[in-house]
Amino acid sequence: MGETLRIVGVKDGKLLVRGPPEIFAEARVGVKTTEPSTYLLDLVELAYLTYFKECEVVDVDGQNLKLGDLFSKYSRSRYDWIKFTTFLDLRNRGRVAQPGYGENVLVFEMKGQRYAVYVVEENSPLNTKELLSWVDSALLKNLEPVLALVDANGDVTYYTVRKYRLEDLV
């Protein structure tokens, strides 16, 4: 078992976690707060530290939380699990995925280009209006939009999504 991380609270839907700063720095997760050794983490980041870095997570009430407990207790979005799956997949590919600006968005950088990954589940229908609005929001932030489709076994397929004018196609 690795280092111990202690959940000390919840702020704006994120978890306040106390632990050795080098753990957060090495895993490139979380945002440092003004409290000593305390970081603000997305659920998927803490899950990553639990699962991949084998950290022990202790809840506010002193209970040890395993990966499943963490999701049972702190998941607030139906996208959390597939976001975690995609986060892991990207990290396994050597991409430093980080939580993005929406409940199902991750961001990462590759070859100088920053990408916004919109995570969608195999069985969750997608509205074209929602898709276009998300593409626009990613482009406004100067991020290349990528759609990540997660199947029932947790396999992730990625597609870049680009808007074109007819003139661009000839």
Partner: protein, 166 residues
């Protein structure tokens, strides 16, 4: 037959009867031309074609009703067809690829169609599984998949989906 030859030769609309992959050879263009409903409507709208039923010429509205009976998505499919055609693309059916149109910058025989088009309504709900199928198939035949999201106003937003390895 002369008109059929002329239409096919000039615009590559339709398909000479019994020719699987028309390339515009002399023998091919001497055959009668088989038009899809969309192609026929396009030519009718342009004033190139008249359609008769029981000896009476159909009006554009009457023929549109026929098209809508057979193709529930006719309106959006036609909007897209017209847009591509007027822009200069050659358009073939892409049913075999599970999409609506295959677009050629020039014409079949001279190049492989670089794009497959799936026409969708703005606000339409799509299954991610369908997206995967269209995307996977278009990637396997080395074509780009274009989603033509058609707004009620007539505006069309083109979105290209390309398989990506992060």
């Amino acid at each position: 037959m002369d008109l059929a030859r002329c239409i096919f030769d000039a615009s590559f609309i339709g398909k000479p009867v019994g020719v699987k992959k028309p390339r515009g050879t002399e023998e091919e263009v001497n055959r009668p031309l088989e038009l899809s409903l969309i192609e026929a409507y396009y030519l009718m709208e342009k004033g190139i074609l008249k359609i008769f039923k029981d000896g009476k010429a159909l009006s554009l509205e009457e023929f549109k009703a026929v098209c809508e009976t057979h193709l529930p998505e006719f309106e959006d499919l036609y909007k897209n067809y017209k847009e591509f055609k007027d822009f200069g693309f050659t358009i073939r059916s892409a049913l075999k690829y599970g999409t609506d149109f295959a677009l050629y910058k020039t014409r079949p025989g001279l190049e492989h169609a670089p794009y497959l088009v799936k026409v969708l309504k703005y606000g339409q709900v799509i299954e991610p599984g369908d997206l995967i199928s269209w995307g996977r198939l278009s990637h396997s035949v080395r074509k780009d998949l274009i989603l033509a999201v058609t707004h009620q106003s007539g505006l069309i937003t083109y979105v290209a989906l390309k398989w990506f390895k992060p």
